[in-house]
């Protein structure tokens, strides 16, 4: 019925990103570029104790600093972000007690940030220290203090076991066990978080600018917590310089800023500095998986038992307590691309006196993949088999789709085995194995790690909320150019380009004639935003559906004007013409002019103007993309340093909208994976202080740490509109296990098997020199 154009020109092509002209020239306008006269700048006084009762807060000296407008504590702003399910609320300014280092205790409002920080130093908080709770075991022990006095630290417990697990496990010929640990990490966007709010004196409406991923969800949360009508709040998300999930969360600072703007009657602005970011942005990945695997002689995995511990920190983020999200994803995807018939899964999530955990790109995916690939490598080790062969024995094959996993997911078709075979061919696996043996004799230790990942994408629920659809509005302006608006919240992914590609193809116009807007709740239709790898798939589906509807309108109008049947009209190169007769044509520009200004010529019943709004909910509740990453590393056994020598990715995210953008996403994810596997760790000391509070201590991969990588594609289309599958997270899901596996492989002669990331060089030397043993 709604036939696409015969030759899509833009969809699938390497269209140069429309955003880059401004971004690469430094012309993007970010939150901190918004500069309104009379703005009050905020500095937060943050707790320097992991756990303490607040005895008193004295703001007198701070108020006396010239240029200070006022200082707020919980007494002045009593908003609490309350999660009914766990009966825990986070006051936006700490009330009575502080529960992590970095928790906001007071807010100073001043004429500039310098003065605000001068005054913040002069706020005197007297604390009565309490013993901090700093890890799973402490949180769970009977002696451990309660982080929230009125409730137990264990706040989330689930168990799931397949029928017949016990027998399958007990009767298996082999069993092995390992404990996998991922330390705390976070997404580190180049642009830190920030928020600015301003009351419109004329209308009384509150405009809130925020660096965020879900403009509408953010507005809904403000509506509720500020108790303001939805139409009195306008949320504007300016250019966002990276988000990675951490900007999908609702943070206390935003509520303080918004509340102050409306109550103080002045514009108010706060931009996080890097130390605040490391202290109080959503943390992630603080997980332990105690795993046992049962398998047969061939390496076929028969059953897996996993007991997961997750530390969510002091408070649950509204709608997304990180540890629950992570454990949920990790265990749901535990069997990855493998046919593992039996699982037994126990999840325990606790509160602790550390920063709250939320979403970070991939959520539990990287941790689950670490377990999923770890057990396969473990089985290979035990049986003395090749790691690729053990994968071959276990893969879900083409004939198995749709495949229902032991954890209850239904996978749509993918290319698991094929992606691995292609990746191994790209890296020339057989030759590598020969070279590896030869080099080992020379004292050089190279290794290969493989991760075949399955990425659940475009799910009904994600950190971006539970909006299972996306919306697109499309308007053809009276002169024939196209303006579209979506409810997405991009942060550099290039949605303005990919959405324009889809729309341009449907309407037969140039991609440069399509302007895609987003991020302003006054102009964008209500949508879910960006997160959970949903934008390309669900957003793309909405763009496609809306432009198809618009296309029909154009065809109908053209047919009427040309006095032809609709079936005989085609849309090519910006013209609607009678098929094969370019002489009988109307340009889109003419059609638009007629639709708006010459309405007497419209067919009976057709509304003037050219504007549609469409909401699209995909038929699949989740569509699964996949691929294989292979990392080749060399470990220097004198220094403990790991160098990534080669890296290949075979990716399958269904139909590609723009391969260049997909590859860019993969490059970034692998870079973050290198950080995750080797560099990044948020470290708390024994007294509960975060010791990695600058980028001197929280190490990020630099350009020189990231190898040139080779990326190729397989396209196994999804049943969703357009055949797209999401792919925002797969690269960061797959890279850490591939890299960790490569280190295990390189150091196999020393009996090293990596189960904990990040892997530090001093750790590697301790292993190699036999001082400590790995799992």
């Amino acid at each position: 019925m709604m036939q696409g154009p015969l030759k899509p020109q833009f969809t699938g092509a390497r269209v140069t990103r429309l955003e880059d002209a401004r971004l690469l020239r430094g012309r993007g306008r970010y939150l901190d570029d918004i500069d309104v006269p009379g703005t009050l700048h905020v500095a937060f006084v943050r707790s320097n104790r992991p756990a303490a009762r607040i005895v008193s807060i004295d703001v007198e000296e701070a108020l006396a600093v010239p240029g200070v407008y006022t200082v707020w504590t919980a007494e002045d702003c009593g908003i609490t972000m309350y999660t009914e399910r766990y009966d825990v609320g986070q006051p936006v300014l700490a009330k009575d007690e502080v529960r992590f280092v970095g928790e906001a205790v007071a807010a100073v409002f001043a004429e500039d940030r310098y003065v605000a920080e001068d005054a913040a130093e002069r706020v005197r908080v007297v604390y009565h220290p309490l013993p901090p709770v700093l890890g799973f075991d402490e949180a769970l022990s009977d002696e451990g203090r309660r982080v929230h006095a009125h409730r137990a630290n264990l706040f989330h417990h689930t168990e799931h076991q397949t029928e017949g697990f016990a027998e399958a496990f007990a009767s298996a010929p082999h069993r092995a066990q390992a404990t996998f640990v991922t330390h705390r990490q976070t997404g580190v966007p180049m642009e830190p978080r920030g928020c600015m709010a301003q009351l419109d004196a004329a209308t009384g409406r509150l405009t809130v600018y925020v660096s965020h991923q879900s403009p509408h969800q953010f507005r809904s949360q403000l509506t509720e917590l500020l108790q303001m009508p939805e139409n009195q709040i306008r949320v504007i998300v300016p250019e966002v310089g990276g988000a990675f999930g951490i900007k999908a969360m609702l943070y206390p600072e935003y509520l303080v800023v918004a509340d102050a703007a409306r109550r103080l009657g002045r514009p108010v602005k706060w931009v996080s500095d890097r130390t605040e970011s490391l202290l109080a942005d959503a943390h992630a990945r603080d997980n332990r998986h105690e795993v046992e695997v049962a398998f047969d002689e061939e390496g076929r995995i028969l059953a897996v038992r996993d007991h997961v511990f997750g530390d969510t920190g002091a408070y649950p983020f509204l709608g997304f307590p990180g540890a629950v999200g992570e454990a949920g994803w990790a265990t749901s995807m535990l069997t990855g691309p493998y046919k593992i018939p039996h699982v037994s899964i126990t999840v325990d999530c606790v509160f602790s006196n550390k920063a709250p955990e939320g979403a970070y790109r991939g959520v539990g995916g990287p941790v689950g993949a670490q377990v999923q690939e770890g057990i396969v490598d473990l089985v290979a080790r035990h049986l003395g088999k090749d790691a690729a062969d053990v994968r071959r024995v276990n893969f879900i094959r083409d004939e198995d789709f749709p495949y229902q996993t032991a954890t209850g997911n239904v996978y749509d078709p993918g290319s698991y085995a094929e992606s691995m075979e292609q990746a191994l061919a790209l890296i020339d696996y057989e030759r590598f194995r020969r070279e590896q043996a030869e080099l080992r004799r020379q004292g050089r230790y190279l290794g290969i790690g493989i991760c075949t990942f399955v990425e659940p994408s475009a799910g009904a629920e994600s950190e971006a909320g539970s909006t299972p659809y996306e919306a697109a509005s499309i308007r053809i302006e009276p002169t024939g150019t196209v303006t579209a608006a979506l409810g997405l919240g991009p942060s550099g992914q290039g949605h303005e380009t990919t959405m324009a590609q889809l729309i341009a193809d449907q309407l037969g116009v140039d991609v440069k004639d399509v302007v895609v807007m987003h991020g302003d709740t006054d102009s964008a239709p209500f949508g879910g935003g960006t997160g959970g790898s949903r934008s390309g798939t669900i957003g793309g589906g909405a763009a496609l559906r809306a432009s198809q509807e618009m296309r029909q309108r154009l065809m109908k109008l053209a047919a009427h004007l040309l006095e032809a049947a609709e079936e005989d009209v085609e849309l090519v190169d910006g013209h609607a013409q009678v098929k094969g007769v370019p002489a009988r044509a109307y340009s889109v520009r003419d059609l638009a002019r007629i639709a708006y200004t010459d309405v007497a010529r419209l067919p009976e019943g057709m509304q003037p103007g050219l504007e549609v709004v469409v909401r699209y909910q995909p038929p699949l509740s989740t569509t699964y993309s996949n691929g294989t990453h292979v990392a080749l590393v060399e470990v220097d056994t004198q220094t403990g340093f790991v160098r990534v020598l080669d890296y290949v990715v075979v990716n399958d995210c269904g139909r590609l909208i723009n391969p260049m953008i997909v590859e860019g996403q993969i490059h970034g994810g692998v870079a973050q994976g290198i950080g995750s596997a080797f560099l990044e760790e948020l470290r708390y000391d024994d007294s509960g202080q975060l010791v990695t509070t600058s980028l001197m201590d929280y190490l990020l991969p630099a350009a020189t740490d990231v190898p040139r990588m080779r990326v190729t594609h397989i396209e196994t289309p999804s049943a969703n509109v357009g055949g797209f599958k999401g792919m925002g997270e797969g690269s960061l899901i797959a890279a850490p296990p591939a890299l960790a596996g490569a280190v295990s492989d390189a150091l196999a002669p020393f009996g090293v098997f990596v189960t904990e990331i990040p892997v530090h060089p001093q750790q590697i030397l301790e292993w190699v020199q036999g001082r400590v043993h790995s799992a």
């Binding site: 940030r113 310098y114 920080e117 001068d118 130093e121 500095d273 890097r274 130390t275 004198q638 220094t639 403990g640 340093f641 560099l679 600058s694 190490l699 991969p701 630099a702 020189t704 740490d705 060089p761 001093q762 030397l765 301790e766």
Partner: protein, 277 residues
């Protein structure tokens, strides 16, 4: 991450700079700002007055004179690593300067700032100690010359007085000895975890190793360097055991191991530098 408020001077002559330093309390010199500004933004350093010496072009020269190379305090790392006199006489110093931070940092950061800041993992303090340099410190009361070995006290601590300006460092032109340098950093451009300058006599086995990144200051130890690699390794390990390391045991062991690896590489480079001539 904003500094406290401060007054700012940009003197036009050395005399004016020294006057300001003599008169203003809690004044600090700012050169490249690559160490000072981060500290000020963290409010770990809280000077009331900044004396910007970037206008004093007389501090920016490199000249060879009477058997010494005199390097002005304002010489940037990026100039140092490429300067013909440095490359000719002090190739190990040039190599070390190339390992400092990144290009943007090297075009601002100065040798004077690096020496006065005295980070124990910094390249240039160690290079100055290794080459037995002399620091020229000037104040309104006159000039003082201090051996590099005596200048560095410990972690970020030196012999400089608040009213003094480091104007230059003088390195005696080497004769009959060769130098090699190596270091290991987590990522290119990071401060080294550990590193070493090794000095070997052109005749005989006399030599010295200057370690950095292990203890709180660069340490120069003279030793007969065995021609046998295994014995050299033991010598390095024994020498390193004498240094105070970081508190954490694993960390200390790791840094000593890296330093030993660096020393061996530096030794090989020193030997190889002779073959080229």
């Amino acid at each position: 991450m904003k500094p406290i408020s401060f007054s700012y001077y940009r003197p036009k002559s050395l005399a004016e700079a020294l006057d300001i330093l003599a008169q203003e309390e809690e004044a600090k010199v700012i050169a490249g700002g690559q160490s000072l500004v981060p500290l000020m933004n963290f409010r770990l350093s809280r000077p009331k007055t900044l004396v910007d010496i970037n206008g004093l072009r007389e501090l920016a020269a490199v000249e060879a004179d009477g058997g010494v190379l005199r390097i002005g305090a304002l010489v940037r790392h990026q100039e140092l690593l490429a300067h013909p006199l440095v490359v000719q006489h002090f190739p190990a110093l040039a190599a070390a300067a190339a390992e400092i931070g990144h290009w943007a940092i090297r075009t601002r950061g100065t040798i004077g700032g690096s020496l006065v800041h005295a980070d124990p993992a910094a390249e240039l303090p160690a290079a100055t100690v290794a080459h037995r340099g002399v620091l020229v410190l000037t104040s309104a009361h006159g000039e003082r010359r201090v051996d590099a070995d005596a200048f560095f006290y410990g972690y970020l601590m030196t012999d400089i007085a608040p009213d003094e300006l480091l104007t230059a460092v003088e390195l005696p032109l080497p004769s009959g000895v060769r130098y090699g340098f190596a270091e290991h950093a987590r990522r290119p451009g990071d401060f080294a975890l550990a590193g070493a300058f090794v000095e070997v006599a052109e005749a005989g086995h006399a030599g010295a190793v200057t370690w950095f990144g292990v203890g709180g200051r660069p340490d120069r130890q003279e030793m007969e360097l065995s021609p046998d690699a295994a014995s050299r390794g033991r010598q390095f390990a024994a020498a390193l055991a004498e240094l105070d390391g970081p508190e954490d045991e694993v960390e200390a062991r790791y840094r000593r191991q890296l330093a030993a690896v660096a020393a061996e590489q530096a030794y090989q480079r020193a030997i190889a530098s002779g073959r080229g001539n």
